[in-house]
């Protein structure tokens, strides 16, 4: 419960910092260029401040900021950051996403897609048969659709550019 309230507050603060920061930056632009940022930014600062105050007051009161409606589907009820195990899984997922971007950047799409698919599925304890099948099918679909059929030049990666 505390984690959820703290998370609510952190996200509200993120929006507040975003609006305040960018509104202040926009003051450095010419009057015409800052017109719209101010029109959007000032109400943004006001609304985000109200949200921060609401989240902070729930934190002080130790209450849920809002109630989850009864009868809602189970998956949508997953609100509030989960426990330690799930937090670890969150970091792991973010790590996997970052790895995908890094691999594409270094090795390009044609190498990354089968290798990443294989690595991810092995890490999730899928059988070698499944991993290899998905990697090969993924590569074939990618190659046939993008390279052969619609002739898009996919990013080759830093390694293969050199």
């Amino acid at each position: 419960m505390k984690d959820k309230i703290r998370g609510e507050l952190m996200l509200a603060l993120f929006f507040l910092v975003f609006f305040v920061g960018l509104t202040l930056i926009s003051l450095t632009y010419s009057p015409k260029a800052r017109r719209m940022p101010l029109v959007v930014g000032i109400p943004g600062v006001v609304l985000a401040t109200v949200q921060v105050l609401r989240a902070a007051s729930s934190k002080r009161g130790g209450q849920e900021p809002k109630e989850v409606s009864p009868g809602a589907e189970e998956v949508t009820l997953v609100t509030g950051l989960p426990g330690t195990d799930e937090r670890k899984r969150l970091w792991a997922m973010i790590g996997w996403m970052a790895l995908l971007v890094a691999m594409i950047w270094i090795f390009g799409f044609l190498v990354t897609i089968p290798v990443y698919t294989l690595l991810f599925m092995r890490a999730m304890k899928e059988s070698w048969y499944m991993c290899l099948s998905f990697a090969i099918i993924g590569f074939a679909v990618l190659y046939l659709l993008f390279v052969v059929a619609i002739n898009i030049e996919l990013y080759p990666g830093l390694v293969f550019r050199l």
């Binding site: 719209m36 998956v75 993924g138 993008f146």
Partner: protein, 497 residues
């Protein structure tokens, strides 16, 4: 030329062998490309244009319009099954379509989406046929102030729809609007908020932001939960695509109204398909008997944007044909194709090539019916994909997202942006911040700014007193205040109980 005889000539021209076959090819390609995130209707038009050189106008139009008219139909499939919008305009479909999938109703959602797309497309085409004589008056009544106010209305409509917290919805709308201000200011050329990055010179790109907010966030959520996308208990449920088709019949009035709204938005140059899809989603929630179930798997939330998605194409063709002013970016490419085919759009076209104009309208209508039928036929099998284990789904979808994100502008920066917004989208999901207003703000921001600057330069703040602008401003006020009144009434009811 007699209107009826021109309409008949146009109709029979579409059913000649070559145009009909080309339309079928276009529809098939449109459906396939629509499924791949990032590769939308514009991409397909650009790829197909070289092939229409030397074709007769009706055949060329059949290929291009057939393809363009149905890309939204294919795009609804990934929105429903994986929370990954195939086209930007499919983003609102994710909100309820994906929730239906999680409840084991993927087939029903797809049936509703595809059938609504087909019906919407036909209504759009019919509207095109009917509206041609009165186009000029309507378009000319809208200037920059009205366009600006329409964008504000769209954002406040969607932002205030957050039943539990309109405040969060509005913050998200403003956040999206601010994101749209990154990059070059169109009126002064000043580069804003780029933080020294060359990538941000062009501003925040919509597709990577959307893929991040919706698709990546969902994959993170799935990975964190450590379960499968759809609970295994639903795998036994005999889910019927036809149930979705029946839903569209049941909500025929909603389908019709959303299609008509989309036609109107489609033919206002510059607002585009995303706006019509979000507007109609918001409208459907407002008029629904169960607004609190929107975002939790209400089929009306699927029908409204999907009907709008295809209906708006008929609307967007109206200014393209009538004035030579494209109603959307896809229509801008189509305009180029018209010239290649030897047709100069504008009032002259309505006199000299009237059968071709009707052939276009018929093509859009027929292509929508064929497109919806093609995908409806396959929907039952496609829906089974969601029962795959998450360890198989996640890498495949992540790769799919990465491809979609990269191919929109061939930039590695897009992949990083997708990742960043994926993480933000996850936390927004966890803490109940709606993503729809962010997307709408991002999409409409540039249009809003351009029209606001023009209006301010021409009339100062007195532009707000123009009759249509003032009327729309009242609607904005209503959109902002009505949720507060509703919440107040509900609290009073609870107090009495």
């Amino acid at each position: 030329m007699n209107i009826l005889s021109a309409a008949w000539q146009g109709f029979s021209a579409v059913f000649e062998l070559q145009p009909f076959l080309l339309m079928m090819v276009g529809v098939f390609l449109g459906n396939v490309i629509g499924i791949v995130p990032g590769l939308g209707g514009m991409f397909l038009l650009a790829v197909l244009i070289p092939f229409v050189f030397g074709m007769d106008p009706v055949s060329g139009m059949a290929l291009l319009l057939g393809a363009h008219a149905v890309t939204g139909t294919g795009g609804s499939i990934t929105s429903i099954l994986f929370n990954t919008p195939g086209e930007s305009s499919n983003a609102p479909t994710c909100l309820d379509g994906f929730e239906m999938t999680k409840k084991g109703q993927a087939g029903r959602a797809m049936g509703a989406a595809l059938y609504a797309s087909g019906v919407g497309g036909v209504i759009g085409a019919l509207a095109l046929l009917l509206v041609i004589p009165i186009i000029r008056t309507i378009v000319l009544s809208f200037g920059p102030p009205e366009f600006f106010m329409l964008t504000v209305l769209g954002i406040s409509f969607i932002g205030s729809l957050e039943v539990k917290s309109p405040l969060k919805g509005l913050i998200c709308g403003l956040f999206g609007l601010f994101l749209s201000l990154f990059g070059e200011d169109p009126s002064t050329g000043v580069i804003r908020f780029n933080f020294g990055s060359l990538y941000l010179y062009e501003g925040m790109r919509q597709i990577p932001v959307m893929l991040g907010l919706f698709a990546v966030a969902e994959m993170i959520h799935l990975g964190v939960k450590g379960t499968d996308l759809v609970d295994k208990k639903y795998a036994e449920v005999k889910d019927s695509v036809w149930e979705g088709v029946k839903d569209v019949h049941k909500h025929w009035w909603l389908t019709l109204k959303c299609s008509v709204i989309a036609v109107y938005i489609g033919f206002l140059p510059g607002l585009g398909g995303v706006a019509s899809a979000f507007f109609t989603y918001g409208y459907a929630q407002r008029i629904s008997k169960n607004p609190e179930t929107f975002g939790k798997g209400n089929v009306e939330g699927v029908i409204a944007p999907e009907a709008a998605n295809n209906a708006k194409e008929g609307g967007a063709l109206i200014p393209t044909i009538g004035f030579g002013v494209p109603g959307s970016s896809g229509m801008a490419i189509l305009l180029g194709a018209f010239l290649i085919l030897g047709i100069t759009p504008g009032p002259k076209m309505l006199h000299e090539h009237l059968p071709v104009v009707f052939a276009m309208a018929w093509t859009v209508a027929i292509a929508n019916v064929i497109g919806a039928a093609q995908t409806l036929f396959l929907a039952k099998w496609m829906a089974r994909v969601v029962f795959l284990r998450s360890s198989l789904l996640i890498p495949v979808i992540l790769v799919f997202i990465a491809l979609g994100s990269y191919t929109t502008s061939n930039s590695m920066g897009d992949l990083v942006l997708t990742l960043v917004f994926g993480i933000l989208g996850y936390f927004m999901k966890v803490y109940d911040y709606s993503k729809a207003p962010v997307v709408l703000g991002l999409v409409l921001g540039k249009i809003a700014e351009g029209n606001f600057n023009l209006s301010y330069n021409l009339w100062g703040l007195s532009f707000l007193t123009r009759p249509i602008t003032f009327f729309i401003a009242l609607l904005v006020l209503w959109a902002l205040v009505s949720p507060l009144i509703k919440a107040y009434r509900e609290r009073q009811k609870e107090g009495e109980a």
